[in-house]
Symmetry: D2
Subunit: 297 residues, 4 copies
């Protein structure tokens, strides 16, 4: 039986941990919230006093934390797991962070003889609960193979993207493109709408033309075109603007680090930033709410 230390039991981490337990793995968990740990104990996990205690006899560590500083804090420095652990569990960081920090942690791990992958997810809380997450994985292909079974307990067939940090890089590239597709779809539909074309009609036409894309098809930003999308439900559910601001921030940081121009993503992040500036409540709404900047319907 595989022993897993699971660090970070938030909206995503908790259901992921539950799916691992269901798949028969033995989990020691840690979170700063006692309440979060209590809930997992009810599902069969063992609550640990600290991340280090959870990991002390683990075969694998899985971390699911909010951002770069928490991941760096967990693994790096004198108090970090990489310095403190005598055993050498395989590290799987499923947090969404910058490729740069992912590489930094991976190098530190590698120096001390740890194997590590970065394995950010997409699919949201629903995917985490249903066990249908997508994983984009960076790191050595052998380590990837070693982790594959465990990832499958939480999601679909994972992609191996490349070396350390490549999982994170792939995720931010995809999310950056997703943001462009959304805002582009809004821009085209607004122009159609103001030219008197029915939003359902232009959607139908563009779905069969060179404008076809994921957002037009499955996340339509115009209220009423598809009753299931956030746009038709007062922008509830979906992917919050605040998360898109975070992900675009990661993309732009990475673009700066590797000298890749981002005229569209920069423009889009500024639009979201201004929208939030003008109306704070936008942060908690699905990112298709950017439509409000284009048209009052």
């Amino acid at each position: 039986m595989v022993q897993i230390a699971f660090i970070g039991l938030g909206n995503m981490g908790a259901p992921m941990a539950r799916n691992l337990i269901r798949a028969g793995h033995s989990l020691k968990v840690f979170d700063l919230s006692q309440k979060a740990m209590k809930a997992l104990e009810g599902d069969g996990a063992v609550a640990a006093e600290s991340a280090a205690a959870a990991a002390a006899d683990a075969d694998f560590i899985i971390s699911m934390l909010p951002a770069d500083p928490q991941v760096a804090g967990l693994y790096l420095g004198e108090e970090g797991l990489i310095s403190r652990l005598e055993n050498r569990p395989v590290i799987m960081d499923c947090s969404t962070i910058s490729p740069q920090t992912a590489r930094l942690v991976s190098e530190a791990a590698s120096e001390k003889g740890f194997r590590m992958i970065d394995a950010p997810v997409s699919g949201g809380v629903i995917g985490a609960t249903e066990g249908s997450l997508s994983f984009m994985v960076g790191g050595d292909v052998d380590v990837f193979r070693e982790c594959e079974g465990i990832l499958l307990a939480m999601g679909k067939t994972p992609f191996h993207v490349g070396g350390a940090g490549a999982g994170q890089a792939a995720k931010i590239c995809n999310n950056m493109l997703a943001a462009i597709l959304m805002v582009g779809t809004v821009e085209a539909m607004s122009l159609a709408h103001k030219n008197g074309i029915d939003p359902k009609v232009i959607t139908g036409i563009m779905l069969k033309s060179s404008g076809q894309n994921f957002m037009l098809e499955r996340w339509n930003p115009w209220p009423g075109v598809d009753e299931k999308t956030p746009a038709s439900n007062d922008y509830e559910g979906g992917f919050q603007s605040s998360l898109m601001l975070k992900d675009l921030g990661l993309a732009l940081d990475s673009a700066r680090a590797v000298d890749s121009p981002t005229p569209l993503a920069s423009t889009i992040r500024n639009l979201f930033s201004m929208h939030v500036q003008l109306d704070e409540s936008v942060r908690g709404k699905d990112f298709s709410i950017i439509r409000e900047m284009y048209s009052d319907t």
Copy 2:
């Protein structure tokens, strides 16, 4: 047997006219180029002395002209067909022009008792030759029905989009979105590439994720990802940058006319404009060549 006047025998018009002849229609054609008319005569068309002569006993006029001024010149003013024709052929303008001009001509036609549709196409020279063009049609739905059979001789089931000008509006909305998809795909793939991810791998991942779109799938802008795309063939074939500059110009004009913001499309048109500024040869290349602005690989 239906009598058709076909005006404009360029790269697109000539093969479209040929498909109408093949379908058994009787054509009188006119073009400023004698050579173009000669070629069509070989296929069974009758060459006319003027547009008015071609249309004098027609049931339908089909025009396929380069831009707004030619269409306005053909139909409007004292010398225009709308003033001069005693018969009242149905007008089908297949040119790509602004919705504004399309509405102007339609109003003039309507005042004199002509029926008219705007029916711009997509599918390029190949679609025109194969008879597989897509038509987006604006105008009265009864007139649309009347024209449907003729359009089918040149392409696929046409869309009825809405009133006069709606065909043109739909086309520029779609092409604007297509441009955004292309540049967005380039932007995301460049960031991936500079992060060391293989272009084929990131393409595969994004095709199964929220970045999926027409350009990523069927017009991939990275050389070598898909051997059939212009990017893999020195940017030959495809859709020329100069045509995208024209279509984006129409989109931005329309956006101005109806007060619809276009932060992405404006940014993109400026990128193409600068690219052409720096290297005149870009005009004749497929618009995926914009990749050169992002990455030298």
Copy 3:
């Protein structure tokens, strides 16, 4: 005594006409508003039945109209002054219109033997009233000389910029740059403010550094920095956002016509367009109100 036909007695035209009367010129005036004509009669002008009647025995025509269509309508076509007038008064168009239309009218005038200048103004209603307008003049230098005395009755020493349309082109270039200076100043001051720097302090520093510009100095967009600016007076007075939208529209049209990239001006026009979209009342406020898109303080 010089006989002047003055066409267009709006907020700008009326005070300009008054200054000409004060300078001893004889004016026949025309406006679609009877009320506007009545007011000028009180100041000593003669009201005419039509523009053509006002101009029938004039030495000079001065027009001050809202936009391109009105100017084209006044001068061009069978009913236009250029076709109808037997005398050949010198034409001075002081409206702000596109360089393209200015050239079109100038060419038509020239064909019929009229001399013409385009002479758009800057200085606003205050400048028109005080007789301190700036004129940027396009057209033949000899015609410019002929008009100079009359222009001086309404403003300061006029600039001769170049041939027909050059006055309009210079004006839109300057106004486009003015918009960039304003939004740039807002952008820099917002960044300073959110970094905790006092708006007066950063203004003082940048005025002595490479950020110095007209807007920072004389139209400061931060409330409270300069009690005289619109920003300190609820954005009343100054230059309305709706006028800046118009002028930026002219600039972008011209840029399209001559193939000049405008990444900054396009971005800015889209910001104003979105601001107006979100809050209709912005149209009537000074354009420094764009600060609201950046910061809620």
Copy 4:
């Protein structure tokens, strides 16, 4: 006699150090380059074995280093000066770095009882040599007063901007605005030029209008308008594109950190990034070379 430790003897640091010696101060200097230290010894400085050795008996430390990591490395961590020095010299960091890092170092300094200012400069190598640098200073006003005399030996009356980091923030705000003024001036002049207006004429007009700004006046980007500017000298001298890329990067990072939108600065940084992408030699040229993206004349 005041004892100063001067760390960092590059193109800027070396002439600054010389001016301090000329003003009668006693300097111990340190640089990783032996050659740079040798040169300063010739001017009367004492070369130290390490930064710590230079600072061991200093009243003031002045650092002039390339970027954030060098400054953080000098002062922070177990090996940093703040941990190692027993004496408590006043710290003056004249490097251009992010306000965030400036605040971080300042907090660390303050915890150990050091006084510190951030005092980035503007004026370039010429200003450093002539002793005419401008200083924008962040930190406690009393510490500022204490340092004022020393700053005056290297430049003009320094500005006290605000608390820790405010000097850095002011500098990046000003430089961001300077970049906007430059690109805006290029954009307006390009539009004028393509409308047939002489670059000198439009410069003269805009200098007396609302487009007036530092770059138009003193750094004109059009070759031939002002023989003294980099644009008239093959873009030699001036302020290199690579440095503007760095400064805009700092501005955008800070904007992200404090949630301030930057649609113009983001657009501009992407233009420079693309220009460099297309032609590597642009890095070493004055940033007015961005004109090449607009116009080939």
